[in-house]
Symmetry: C2
Subunit: 248 residues, 2 copies
C-alpha cells in the first residue's frame, strides 16, 4: 500500500454516491472501486451492502466502494476502503472485473474496478461509527434492488466464487482459521447450492492432505464435538508446484 489505510478517519473515504459532486481533491474522478464482500453465517452465503442516509441515493442499497486516489493503485484503494469498512487487515481480496459501460452511472462517466472479498465469521462485526450509512449482511438469495449495475456485479462475483471455490482452496477464507469438517462441507453446500455426502466429502478432503488436524475440538455444541482443522497453506503451495489440482 502506498499509504496507511488507517489515515482514513471519516466516512467520506467510503464511496458516497449521493455526494458525488463533492469529491475529495486527491482522487481520479473517473475511477472507483466496488467490492462484493462475501461472508458465510448459519450456512447461508451473505453479502455486505451499504445504504446511504443522505444525498441523491439516500435509501438505496449499494455495494461498498470508494474513489481511487492519485497516489495509490486501484487495488490499494479497494484494500483501504475495505479495511476502513470492516476493520479487518488481512482480507482475501481479488479483482473481479472492470465495469465501464458509458451509461452505467447516469450523467457521469465512472469506470469501476469490481473486487470480491471473503470474510471470516470472526470478522463479521462491522467497524462502528458509520453515521452516514447503514451497513448490513444480506442473504445472497434475498438481495434488495441495487443502484447502477451493482446487481450485475454481484451476479458476476457469485459466478466467479462458485467456479473458483471448486478449483482452488479459497473457501477456507470464509471460515475461521479453525473449523470442523462439517462446517467446511456446509460452506460448500451454501456456495454451490448442492447437498454433499458426509463420509465421502470427509474422505476426499482428508486425502488431499491440506488440512492440519489440531488437537482441539469444537466447544459449545450439544452433541459430540468434532475435531478442529486448519488449512495448510504451505503444503498447498508445495503441492501446487508439483501440479496438484484442488477439486471439489
Amino acid at each position: 500500500m502506498t499509504e496507511n489505510a488507517d489515515s482514513a478517519t471519516s466516512d467520506e473515504k467510503i464511496f458516497f454516491y449521493g455526494k458525488i459532486q463533492e469529491l475529495p481533491d486527491d482522487v481520479i474522478d473517473t475511477l472507483s472501486n466496488d467490492s462484493v464482500v462475501f461472508g458465510c453465517d448459519d450456512s447461508t452465503l451473505k453479502v455486505l451492502l451499504v445504504r446511504h442516509a443522505e444525498g441523491d441515493s439516500a435509501g438505496e442499497w449499494a455495494l461498498p466502494g470508494g474513489w481511487v486516489r492519485y497516489n495509490e493503485s486501484v487495488d490499494d484503494s479497494a484494500v483501504r476502503m475495505l479495511q476502513h469498512l470492516t476493520g479487518v487487515h488481512d482480507i482475501y481480496l481479488e479483482q473481479l472485473h472492470v465495469f465501464s459501460d458509458v451509461h452505467r452511472v447516469p450523467h457521469r462517466r465512472i469506470i469501476t474496478t469490481a473486487y470480491y472479498a471473503l470474510i471470516r465469521p470472526d470478522d463479521h462485526a462491522i467497524a462502528a461509527g458509520f453515521s452516514t450509512y447503514d451497513v448490513r449482511w444480506v442473504d445472497i438469495h434475498d438481495l434488495p434492488e441495487l443502484i447502477y449495475d451493482h446487481a450485475d456485479i454481484i451476479d458476476m462475483a457469485l459466478h466467479r466464487l462458485r467456479h473458483k471455490v471448486r478449483h482452488e482452496p479459497i473457501g477456507f477464507n470464509l471460515l475461521n482459521k479453525k473449523f470442523t469438517l462439517l462446517q467446511l462441507q456446509e460452506l460448500y453446500e451454501a456456495i454451490l447450492d448442492v447437498k454433499l455426502d458426509k463420509p465421502n466429502f470427509r474422505r476426499k478432503m482428508l486425502k488431499m492432505n491440506l488440512l492440519i488436524s489440531s488437537n482441539e475440538k469444537q466447544t459449545g455444541v450439544s452433541h459430540r464435538a468434532a475435531k478442529l482443522y486448519e488449512f495448510d497453506e504451505a503444503v498447498y503451495h508445495e503441492l501446487e508446484q508439483q501440479g496438484f489440482n484442488f477439486e471439489i
Copy 2:
C-alpha cells in the same frame, strides 16, 4: 460497440507509447488497454507483440494496446484496437486484470486494463499498413524484453490461459473451426507444456460429446488423413446448464 471499429483508419488508433504526449482529444488520458494475443503455430504457443519505429519507445517491444475513448467502454476500446490490428471481427477476448501501480509508467499515471485474446491460425496474418511499427508473433518461450510491466501482464495471461484451458473449452478458439484430434491434443501440450497419451486423450474428448464429427478429412498430409471435428458450442452450453464440468 459504441462505434464502428472500421472508422479507425490510422495507426494512431493503436497505442503508440512513443507519442504519448500527442494524444487524440477524445480519449481518457489516464486509461489504456493492453492485450496479450495468443496464437498457436506449429504446436508452439505465440504472442503478438508490436515494436514502435518512432518516438520515445522506438525499438522496444510492447503489447498492442490503445487509449480508451470517452464514448466507449474499456472492453470496446480493446475490441476496436484488436480488430484494427488483426482485421478479425470475432476475436475471443477476456478481461485479465487492471494494472495500476502508480509508477508502472515513468512520469505518467496510466492505468491499463489488460486483456487476453485467442486467435485462430486462419487469422494469423496481420492486417497490412502498419507503417509506424512492427507486429510479430513471438514464441512464448522466447520473449524479448518488454516495456513497462508488460512482461508481468504476459505472465499473468499465461497463467490464466493455462488454468482456464483446463477447466473450460476455450482452447478451441486457438484452432481453426475444423480441426483434428491430434491438433487439439498438440494444442494442449503446447499450452500446458506436458505430454499426453494419444488414445486416452482421444477417448476422453469424444466421450464429452462436445465435438461434431464432420465428414471431412484433413488434406495435404503425407499419411492417413484424420477426421475433422468442430466444437459444438450449443451442446456445451446445454451441458453447462446441467452442471457439466469441462476438465482436461
